[in-house]
Subunit: 501 residues, 2 copies
């Protein structure tokens, strides 16, 4: 009977996977290819689909199947099946525990507060957005009290993106990072040496950029028979399935590095999706483990590989072929230094790898304060600007380049930001392990030979899906839990070398 | 209460429209843009969606709402609402009257018999496909006995594509057409004059063809902010909504006319969709009236407008600009004659407007015989070839260029073929009316001014949706029911002139 219930459960889970894949295509289509006039009806399609997804994922039958499975001995289930049951239970419970009224309020607030945020940012007025923010905090508090009453409120929100994460864990890590990075940022600024990067500005035909991007994505291992690469306003990795993964980039004719590294970043996400396990591929066990681990895969390729000197060694000749005028006299070292400039800046998404974590820590501290009551939403602009000055030595002049810059809070996404920096740290720790296991890695990168690297990621991470917790996986792969020392040492070594500190 | 039920009904109908729109995008995506590796999972997505559509459109609640509405006086409903109720009732009843077992058998046969047909056509063996065809006839007979027991079996199948059509009606029309066209085809063949068309063969860069196609589509009135034009193996008009209509074409570098007229044909379909009424646009009343009327819109633009001498007069200079080498010394008259060659050929989809109806009549007669038992499936190749010889004077050498050429029967689509030629006849009758109402039409075409033509079609046909029956609409627009004389006279006049008969 319980195996019968398991069978029924997986049929439903595969149906949900199928519907989520459809939503993925509709989203991609809207961002990449849909005519502008279609936007109104597409919203209707999306909401119809969301309604069906909600209905099917909160169907009481799922609860019955799960109860039936739990009532039996689980000896009959292997690790994959056990993971599917665990994930299904978590998803189901989190869905059904939220009262319908609250779900509706959150859906409505999502729609309205996004508009309010867009306008407030345009007009530089945090005050206009503050009521929406307050409402979100209220709703997310209530949400947390339903889905995870035994956790702290911010912890419950964090857990939605980074399962197993907590305020306490992140605080310990971020304090360490902060303590080391603030002086590093300062030292870079004060040493007076700024590598030249003027050769990165110029006129770079889009067609050439596209060719290069596709070539590198392919070299790294992106399978174009199971994916596409297109253009959108904001680069992303979407699609509908491991056999249909769609990455995007955007082109600026005056800068080819930005688009290229966006391609490499999204290729990293894409390889994770394409590399998912074959068995149970349409069931939860095969899905990505967490936001942080997903981000580790994009940053692994973007930073560990593609921003390294070995990679520049391999690809600079190809860049020169594509853009001879600008790059003719540029050495590998000069190119490497040029693409690795570090400088404090107001906008998180434009920040380099040294300053980026401080943007994240600032947001983490503010979110924590918003939920424990130590920070009042009305004080946010001032608190934001103070922290920017303390951490990065610069102070936003307007709300738009400060507290209003990110879309996340307008969608009620609290606890999401840490994943970006966790990803950077995981990437570094994974890369250190790989280098220890394969001493020829640098030579392989220099030769443009990425097969072994991709294979290692496929086998160590992608194919593991949700079989293990994030912490277990990291221990399994690297021999220890997340350890920020790897990341700190990497940044210190790299930038001491570039800036001769 | 009944208005409450109507309200509930329309919410469901809009939801179905939304889901059908999603299916439209998935289909378009698969034909145009999906990576090859995604085909397996896309099939799963489509079948999940089809299952949900079936569930939602056979929901007994729809029956309850309809019964409730019918139990009340309908005085409260206007013509639009009445049409929505009528259409909903028809769709619902046709869905629920089919036993689940039969629906499953048809779905399974669709999948298998398509494969069988592909292979049989490749290998030129009708005998391999005959069992599938027999099974289809059996299932479509049973289907007809459930959904429309008071109609003849073939009539019920016809009615699925061309509501109000019947064997008897079509027979009367087709007999007339056949009687006139067989001698016309013969006269064209025997008169010995073949206009030159060698200037249509050459090397025509795809990029130029694309520009021309987009320009003409735009000139005619296709709104590119509510649609797209792309490339697919078989040209089609798809998309998800009147605000998101997607036409496709294909390019052959050795022939630009084929692609261009495919664009114009699909633009005709696209204008119908983009031109649908504003009110109740997501409800059945706004949908296209029938396959025949849809085809009349594509053929109106392709044949009545774009294959006319006036159109050649307007666009030949633009064609010469795009392809100067090949067309430099070609006169409008020569070009017009060149694109209007008529010659019997084996393959329906490649046939010209004079011979095409005979391909259709042949299929109509065979389908009629298959359902009334006067034709045995096993005799089809012979019957097919005999008829080809009688009607067109040519005889297929293989099953693949004869009885196996069309996909329709492998999908169980019987009664679909007549719509193609009904469309051609409607197009002609509509155009005659328009010319009588606006004596400046030819001048407008010569000037490339299509606004009034598009407006007339929008107002007379597109915006009428399903308010009237096909026959009522045609009478309303042209003052009489479908009358094949218009079509026959058009062909006789045009080709007597070109071939100097």
């Amino acid at each position: 009977m319980s195996s019968n219930s398991y069978q029924k459960l997986t049929v439903r889970l595969e149906e949900l996977t199928s519907l989520n894949g459809i939503a993925g295509i509709l989203h991609w289509d809207q961002e990449v290819i849909m005519p502008s006039g279609g936007v109104g009806f597409r919203a209707k399609q999306m909401s119809t689909l969301a309604g069906i997804l909600h209905e099917k994922s909160t169907d009481p039958a799922i609860g019955d199947w799960l109860r039936d499975i739990e009532g039996q001995t689980t000896d009959g289930f292997d690790a994959y099946q056990a993971a599917n049951i665990r994930e299904a239970k978590r998803d189901y419970e989190r869905e059904v525990k939220v009262p319908k009224r609250l779900a509706q309020e959150m859906a409505e607030l999502s729609a309205t507060s996004r508009q309010v945020w867009v306008k407030a940012r345009q007009e530089n007025r945090f005050g206009d957005f503050a009521p929406s923010l307050k409402k979100w905090i209220e709703l997310r508090k209530e949400w947390a009290s339903h889905v995870d009453p035994e956790k702290g409120i911010y912890d419950a929100n964090i857990d939605a993106y980074e399962r197993g994460g907590s305020t306490e864990k992140f605080e310990g890590i971020f304090e360490k990072v902060k303590k080391e990075l603030i002086p590093l940022v300062k030292a870079i600024q004060e040493n007076g040496k700024t590598p030249s990067s003027s050769f990165l500005d110029g006129d770079f035909p889009t067609e050439k950029q596209k060719e290069l991007g596709q070539q590198i994505s392919k070299d790294i291992g992106f399978a174009f028979d199971k994916g596409r690469m297109d253009v959108s306003v904001h680069p992303f990795c979407g699609g509908s399935h491991p056999t249909d993964v769609r990455i995007t980039t955007r082109y600026r004719s005056d800068n080819f590095v930005e688009s290229l590294y966006a391609v490499i970043h999204e290729t990293g996400h894409g390889l994770y999706e394409q590399g998912r396990m074959e068995r149970d591929r349409d069931l939860p066990v095969s899905e990505h483990l967490s936001m942080g681990i997903h981000e580790s895969q994009s940053l692994f390729w973007e930073r560990m590989i593609a921003q390294s000197e070995s990679f520049c060694h391999c690809y600079l000749p190809k860049f020169k072929e594509a853009f001879p005028e600008k790059l003719e006299n540029i050495s590998v070292r000069k190119f490497y230094e040029g693409i690795n400039l570090s400088e404090p800046s107001m906008i998180r998404v434009e920040a380099d790898e040294v300053t980026y974590p401080l943007h994240i820590i600032l947001r983490f501290e503010i979110e924590k304060g918003l939920f424990d009551g130590s920070v009042s939403p009305d004080d946010l602009p001032e608190i934001w600007n103070e922290k920017m000055e303390t951490y990065l030595g610069i102070r936003p002049k307007t709300d738009s380049e400060g507290v209003l810059q990110d879309i996340h809070w307008s969608m009620g996404s609290f606890g999401y930001f840490p994943s970006y920096t966790l990803g950077a740290m995981y990437a570094c720790q994974f890369f250190n392990t790989l280098k220890m296991q394969d001493s020829a890695i640098e030579d392989k990168i220099k030769a443009g030979n990425f097969i072994d690297i991709k294979k290692w990621l496929n086998e160590s991470i992608h194919q593991k899906g949700r079989l293990y917790s994030t912490d277990d996986l990291v221990v399994q792969v690297t021999g220890e839990s997340l350890n920020p020392d790897h990341f700190i040492k990497y940044l210190k070594d790299k930038y001491s070398n570039i800036y001769q500190l």
